[in-house]
């Protein structure tokens, strides 16, 4: 289910990320490019974070960037961006982020199966560490695939 959304095209390992705003722009880019979201959705995420929305920090350096379905989601999608070194979410010291996952939920139920699987993966310490340590889409995909089978 996760690999239906997260694949070699939507998992990004950029050489350079200039702060949290650039991270959001970069992680949203594949969803924007294939029409899953509109520009409005990217702006909604940026605004939400800038207004103190650091609740998207799940812990362990992982952020789940998202906004409301009505803020520009065309269809459900997920993308991910690995950031080295970490960037500070909303420039706040308390929120260093190494992995941004961007969630675009077309309605409040379509994304639940994928999100449930992601939640399960991220609460498993070994899988979480392996995912954070991934250096390219192939290794990340291997972690996701193993998670789907367990």
């Amino acid at each position: 289910m996760l690999t239906q959304y997260l694949d070699e095209r939507t998992m990004l390992f950029p050489d350079r990320v200039d702060g949290w705003r650039d991270a959001i722009e970069q992680v949203a880019a594949p969803l924007l490019a294939d029409g899953a979201i509109t520009r409005e959705y990217v702006d909604a995420m940026l605004t939400s974070i800038a207004n103190g929305g650091t609740y998207i920090d799940l812990g362990y350096g992982i952020a789940l960037a998202h906004a409301r379905p009505e803020s520009g989601v065309v269809r459900t999608g997920l993308s991910a961006l690995w950031v080295r070194p970490a960037v500070l979410l909303n420039d706040e010291e308390a929120h260093p982020i190494r992995l941004f996952v961007c969630l675009a939920a077309a309605d409040s139920s379509a994304h639940l199966a994928a999100l449930a699987q992601l939640g399960q993966l991220l609460t498993d310490e070994a899988a979480r560490d392996a995912l954070l340590a991934a250096t390219d889409p192939t290794t990340a995909l291997a972690v996701l695939t193993a998670g789907e089978q367990s």
């Binding site: 609740y55 920090d57 799940l58 812990g59 362990y60 994304h111 449930a116 939640g119």
Partner: protein
């Protein structure tokens, strides 16, 4: 029936993950008689649930919701285990 509610700003991202994990922890604890759901902060009123689980960042905004349980991390199962057990105790839910 006791109700635990996971709440976040949008009601569809982190609150759902917390919802799933609360169910997982309750099952581990052998607790029964607890329903779990998730919602966005704007649609929840005091009294909607016996305990409301939120991330640290909206702790203040959720302060009016009664028994508010603040989580340092959304995906730390050990923390959640402790806090769900405590909440269960406060609301008379038997756990193993």
């Amino acid at each position: 029936m006791t109700k635990f509610l996971a709440v976040c700003s949008t009601g569809l991202g982190s609150s759902f993950m917390v919802h799933m994990n609360i169910e997982k922890v309750l099952k581990e604890l052998g607790a029964s008689g607890v329903t779990v759901d998730h919602a966005d902060l704007g649609s929840v009123a005091n009294g909607d649930a016996d305990a409301v689980f939120v991330g640290r960042d909206i702790a203040e905004a959720a302060g009016h919701l009664g028994d508010v349980v603040v989580l340092d991390s959304i995906i730390d199962l050990d923390e959640l285990r402790t806090k769900v057990r405590d909440a269960a105790g406060r609301h008379g839910v038997a756990v193993q």
